[in-house]
Symmetry: C2
Subunit: 326 residues, 2 copies
């Protein structure tokens, strides 16, 4: 996740959060030079930081805000709120090929919210479930005079794959084959507010297996949170290539009839990755059965285009939601 | 910091955040047994987690909420908001005798807040200043229909002192001498909302020097954020001892006339520590000139008492602010 909104809600036209983040990142370009222990700064699914002893660690923070990323409790069950808060950050660890090890959770709660212990207990349970126990937290309850949504902030520390090392967004090269796991679109059930965006399984096993299987042939990876088009554009920009994807190849979730919906709705939390030309990529992860679909190629240029059925190239970098009300 | 509020504002009587956190921590008591890489879970200024290679890391998250921890911008300058957000978490790394290495920052911003880039740039600057560059972040802007305060969540990763290792709250023993750095009270200027709580210097140098100088004779340490009385009670509880402090010894900030104010106003961000009986503790840190004052002893029992001028013992564990409006 990069700060984007949930699948398909109507956005309010303001300065994009991703543009703001880009401005912020622009100030960090010398980070690796100024701080040699920073292996990879902002601009990937996780930052990579080396310990004094030379081990690499993955670091990620992500937020979950009521009314933005889920319909407020009790409309959304507490357990699913907690689950999503942890799962989003865990998904970013997976996207770097890593294994989560520890989590921290901070919550700012509205004055009438009486479920703080249950919320933290559920976050602790889900954090353990994915192998990153909640080792610390912070809690602020807004006073009666203050209004505000429930805000959860979860940071997760992980370790990269021991042999492959951290997989970044920036490693794709011209000629690479581009794949996606699972299926895209339909993450949010607009009638109920529920759906895949609350119950997705972070692709930890698939990512580890890709690292095991492809090794250095796994060039770049990220999770698809803000829509394939927008996130594809980010991977392309980080790698200095152009992604050319084929609309007819995009795997669509049940009920998703248009490739544009699959490419733009977001909150899929699937893995988008680039592998060396000629690398043998199975069409299914053996352990989980998750399908893996070849959807296009990386080539010279910039941006992410999707070739429609009639052969026209659609600029997809602007597809997907940056912010929305759920 | 443990989730407490700022110095001296009037609290609204509700369930204490610290009580909620205690309930949450109670569910984590088996964490070290279930996850051997968790060296110290919730209940200290930082969690301590071991890497696969056996290095110890310190992890901390803390929040800063407008109207709670500072008067909203532009009343409080943006730079001081950013500074405090980073400094609070850095202070907890110092309290464990550590060195900060990397930071993550997440922000949820009110709809009319136009200063996101400046805020992040200032946080990045302060994070670099204390040696923990901002390597990642997340940004959510509330939509026009949503009201809410500015919420910043900062997590910092650090490493403990190489020789001493992580200093926890739980190491104090009977007979230990109890010290505090600097001076207490008066952190918030009630007229302006400004003051020490926005401009304090995290005691990184002092903590490192204490580790260098005292080594294993430095038994327990924490930062004083919610008031000496309340935080003293926490150190006592974590160590299974009673702290007996002397009111006449408490170092008071200029203008603080009553020891009760010094012990309860909070947001001092000074180091409270216990050292072995007989350990030679200088009365000043040579590098910074920060005074170090012997304020009492650890003994058998529970809680934190302060002996008033007339010899009566005052239970100080309940002193200090848990939440307040600034």
């Amino acid at each position: 996740m990069t700060g984007g909104g949930p699948a398909g809600g109507p956005g309010v036209p303001r300065m994009r959060e991703s543009d703001l983040l880009s401005r912020i990142y622009a100030g960090s370009r010398d980070l690796e030079a100024a701080f040699p222990h920073v292996v990879a700064g902002p601009g990937h699914d996780c930052a990579v930081v080396a310990t004094p002893g030379g081990e690499c660690l993955l670091l990620k923070v992500d937020q979950l805000v009521a009314g933005r990323h889920f319909r407020p409790h009790p409309h959304t069950p507490l357990d699913l709120i907690a689950r999503k808060a942890i799962a989003r950050a865990v998904s970013d660890i997976a996207a770097c090929g890593g294994r989560p090890r520890a989590a921290l959770a901070a919550a700012t709660l509205p004055p009438d919210f009486g479920e703080a212990p249950g919320l933290f207990e559920a976050m602790a349970r889900w954090a353990r479930h994915w192998g990153c126990p909640l080792v610390g937290g912070d809690l602020v309850m807004l006073s009666a005079g203050q209004q505000g949504p429930l805000v959860l902030s979860v940071s997760v520390q992980g370790v990269p794959h021991a042999a492959r090392g951290p997989v970044l967004r920036s490693g794709a090269g011209r000629g690479d084959a581009v794949y996606v796991t699972g299926a895209l679109g339909g993450s949010l059930d607009r009638a109920t507010g529920l759906g895949h965006h609350l119950t997705f399984e972070p692709r930890l096993e698939e990512a580890r297996w890709l690292c095991d299987t492809l090794g250095d042939d796994l060039h770049a990876m990220m999770d698809v949170s803000d829509g394939l088009g927008r996130d594809g554009g980010r991977l392309a920009a980080a790698s200095g290539v152009r992604l050319r994807l084929e609309s007819g190849r995009l795997p669509r979730s049940p009920g998703v009839r248009e490739w544009r919906a699959a490419a733009s709705e977001g909150e899929d939390y699937e893995l988008l990755f680039a592998a060396a030309e000629g690398a043998r990529v199975p069409d299914r992860c053996p352990a989980t059965g998750t399908p893996i679909t070849l959807i296009g190629r990386a080539e010279a240029g910039t941006g992410c285009v999707i070739v429609a059925g009639d052969g026209t190239e659609v600029d997809a970098s602007g597809m997907g939601w940056d912010y929305a009300a759920i």
